[in-house]
Subunit: 358 residues, 4 copies
């Protein structure tokens, strides 16, 4: 159920409606929009009586939601969600196409800093890099854990990049939440509902990757899990699905971008690195992702891909990333969007910004 | 096996090498390139002795080809193939992104002419429309057959559009070859090897659609069947593959475009209408297809989609097609390519062109 | 639309109803059953008025069929279809589980006769072997064509085995129809509608293989194409579908057996050789196929699999086939069915039978 | 790396080799077999020098393992693993085909006890039922949690059934480990590596379900995660994979049973309830699973499926389960295996057994 408030409803009206919902034992999710505020109700296994709210001050309409997802739906919130970050003007879901770049895994301070400088110069505003790596084999490199997170935090201070990194369980999420700006939930954990709920109790934005065989509905329901706990800053990410096709590691399903945008107000970005698994496909598919209307890209870049401890084959050389940025910048313009410009000296700029933010 | 001729080899050298190949009971496929001519050899189940050719005049190198495809391969022909048509300057595989548009099926003279005028005005150079429709049910509309082909031929005369239409068996191919400019082999027939061989004996270019569950190698091998019979004007077409995903009719696999371009010299276009099956996804995926580097688009347009006898849900309204053309024209420019401009009065222009061509 | 006749309707009643249908420009398909005859009507794009038939002699009920398939449906014919053959008491769809065995391709008279003797001794009643091979590569062995068919006809005469072999186009179907007992339509041609219609005009039973990515509905509709032309002796065959799984060549979908049996009266057999692509999986999956309720098996057997010109990896050694027959014979008994017993001297027996049949 | 001990190596020899391995900072996994003990070594990112062990007492051979999985492999342990349970003679992987049955979710004490009595009477030795339910929607019934586990423990005491139930995170695993006999890891968590490691530190056997899009190698690697932590009692479970096919909820891949048995010593069972999602397909596919060689079945049974809080459509009525048991019992005999016989009064028998065990 969903309560649409009148355009001129007061904050007190909204507060009263939420209080009534909570008093009935349910949860109220208030979603302010440009024109109106809508309030989602969850926790109601049985139907609520619309009459309970119809006559309250400021209530315009009570709507039954037939779709399985409620909070992710455009029915609840017509405007696109723009995810914002503390101490930064970077956004996901706004006019600027968000670019997240960095190595698959944080391997060392040197590797991370070298890569970060490259991607910051090229215009990336977000730095990606795994400290906890979910690997198919228990004998593969599993990441530097908290040491990796500390390196990431230093990179934020040095280059002013927002940090995106994966949490693989509740314990690592506690730490990721502490050090990073955005908590990534990986494809393998898209239906790890315990982890989704924990992420939903965090105040940091969440980057939720589509599972390798997830339908659109399952993908949206995973976001709903996070939102149902009160964290409304969720960014979706298409990263390829598993099919019979063997010329790429996964099959990048770009059609899911307009499909999500039709049903949900949440932003959606694309990961052409995992989506193709092949370096030479990353740039063409990045162009395509921006052209299809994605709100961002997440790209693997490594200063020395052949020696990467994971996913080297799909990581770009720094020069290739500069070229990619140039190309997607032009494509973005065709769609009336932008991609951040190159930065001559990111360290200088960002140290100041970082200091100012404190 | 593949024989690379020297840059300055004469036509007579090439002729001599081909004659030697034929005299041994094999087939020679001469592929002239900008720098050199290469000659593919097929029909040799056992290995030929390279020494047979090494010392012939003009021969630079004899190469063993380990890949299962030979004639489609860039090993044989480094330059992109540009498919050309009689009495037209339109191409597929050249700088201009080829746009083919029209209804799923030719339903009547009126419907076809109305659509043709719309798409010609918007800048399409090719008209698509089925006279033979492979339908899942024997009780569905199966197309107007030769009557449909006659309408298509009139459209070429009236609007100067090149005609692309599907052949479903040897009998219909005889007629399609007579009336149309380009013979389409549908996805369901991608491994109808008898039909592929028949298309290979035609002199008209062939548009070969990827099967719904075809790997890249199977796709290229299907083109190889056509080429092995002597028809080298083959255009590949990605039209979506079947996966578990249910938000689109098929999953459009744009990564196959750069994958084909890496391995083969043949042009590849994209069909976002069948690839998504939903009108609202066609334009975003068309932008993405051009951005990924496709050599063309094939789009379903219908003046009254809700009454279409087939595939109405995925057909664009004429106005939507105009908008699509505007968008892809700008994307194409970013890649250094073009899309043909709108034409104010296609009938006038083309009648003249058509007359001149006679 | 479907007309159910009364239990005691006369042949003349049925004839009259069919005549009325035909006089309206439609096609009547009379399906006699144990309790009643039902008459399917095809060719009616618009709805017929049930009143046209309601009052005719012997008509019990006129039923609108909402499913896209009509003639394949159990709505039309409740009893299982049992496919019978001239001059043989072997059936498909009866109590006996039909076993078809033989090499992938007929390579030579010797190879075919050796294999035939082995499989006949082990109890197979049908001999399979390709004279026309649809191969992914134009450069692979394409079969012996009519020479292969002649060898197959000799095998029928010598061992009394019924011959099942594939037709790949209208021309080869003419010949297969002449020499063989059952016309196979391969997976790649499951939606070659032109070929399906041609098979529908044959009087020989048809073995229709499921396409590599065909849904159940598409599979049944392909059978409907054949039946709509008047050939009601169609046997379906599950042979594995294409998925992401890579431990077998295809993923054998045994659940389709009970699914078909629920919706259709047609028999369905299983091909574990193509379904798995691996010799060591053929026997376990054959047991499973009989256990799930399949009406038969089609198995590749080769006297020297390592030298087979096609599909050697999935062909059983003759001894393995004997073992397979022993195992499935016991499984069949659990389901109240049988598998034919071994035959000490198939040539002796069958020469007599064959002579008698002349 | 893997060390094979001589047939007559003493326990002290084995102890010494393990001590040497541990002293080098690695982990030793001793796997006693009928003929020999083998010792797996994990934790070695770099190659160990075989010479370190060659000359130790009792060592026969040092083998480099090239496959990514080590402990799950038949290279390490040739004999089938038979998983045993405290206070019960039931096994998984032995001659008896293990049957696990019960409702999808524990809904109430009544529902659970009623079902348990039915399945115990029919011969099931294991009771399944979820206390923690991973549901696609956050608003669906999520299980009774510890209250459900307590009901399950009562059922063990009353009917002597071994309890199998799912853990969805580390917290629930602590409780499942306490109350149940076997810890289930669900398909969605097959690559929740944190949970796998936690299960690996448990002393209770683990039932590991194949992920919905997991390859055979990924499936085995997930088991390897558990084993690498020291828990060698892992049972694999095929429960259907996601494909384009829409006539069943998932596509049950029975070929994975012989595929696993070829590569691994671990037992594998089949879940035809989730594998098909349709009640009428469960019995035929159960027959097929036993026929293909599975070591067990896990079946959903509910006394009132139409009112089940989850998965009602795929749950059998108790009578259908009795029938299923009769059918698979006969199939098992064909393979030289057995299925436990019906029990007239499970409560009487088991209370005694349970008392004795204390």
């Amino acid at each position: 159920m969903l309560i649409v408030m009148k355009a001129h409803a007061t904050e007190e009206d909204v507060r009263q409606v939420c209080a009534r919902i909570e008093s009935l034992g349910f949860r109220a999710h208030s979603m302010p929009g440009a024109q109106r505020t809508a309030i989602g109700i969850t926790g109601n296994e049985t139907e609520l009586d619309p009459g309970t709210f119809d006559e309250m001050s400021g209530v315009q309409e009570v709507i039954r939601v037939s779709k399985p997802y409620k909070l992710v739906s455009r029915d609840l919130k017509e405007e696109d969600t723009v995810v914002r970050f503390a101490n930064s003007d970077a956004t996901v879901g706004g006019d600027e196409v968000a670019v997240m770049a960095g190595p698959c895994a944080i391997e060392s301070r040197d590797q991370a800093f070298t890569t970060a400088e490259h991607v910051a110069r090229a215009g990336a505003r977000f730095f990606r890099g795994g400290a906890y790596k979910p690997r198919t084999s228990p004998y593969s490199f599993q990441g530097l854990a908290e040491d990796g997170l500390k390196i990431l935090a230093e990179i934020r201070d040095r280059f002013g990049l927002l940090i995106v990194t994966e949490a693989v369980d509740n314990e690592s999420l506690d730490l990721v939440e502490k050090y990073a700006d955005m908590i990534q939930i990986g494809a393998r954990n898209m239906q790890n509902f315990s982890l989704l709920k924990r992420a939903g109790r965090s105040r940091k934005p969440v980057l939720l990757k589509r599972g390798i065989a997830a339908t659109l509905e399952e993908f949206l329901m995973a976001a709903e899990y996070i939102m149902s706990e009160g964290n409304y800053n969720v960014v979706l990410c298409e990263r390829g699905v598993r099919t019979f096709a063997d010329h790429t590691r996964n099959t990048l399903d770009l059609s899911v971008v307009p499909a999500v945008q039709r049903l949900s107000h949440l932003p959606i970005i694309v990961d052409p690195s995992h989506g193709t698994g092949k370096r030479n496909k990353v740039t063409p598919l990045s162009r395509a992702a921006v052209a299809v209307g994605a709100d961002g890209l997440i790209i693997e870049v490594h200063p020395d891909p052949d020696r990467a401890l994971s996913d080297g084959k799909q990581s770009l050389y720094p020069d290739q990333f500069v070229q990619l940025m140039n190309e997607v910048r032009q494509i973005a313009q065709v769609l009336g969007r932008s991609v951040a410009e190159p930065v001559a000296n990111p360290a200088a700029r960002q140290t100041a910004g970082s200091a100012a933010a404190r």
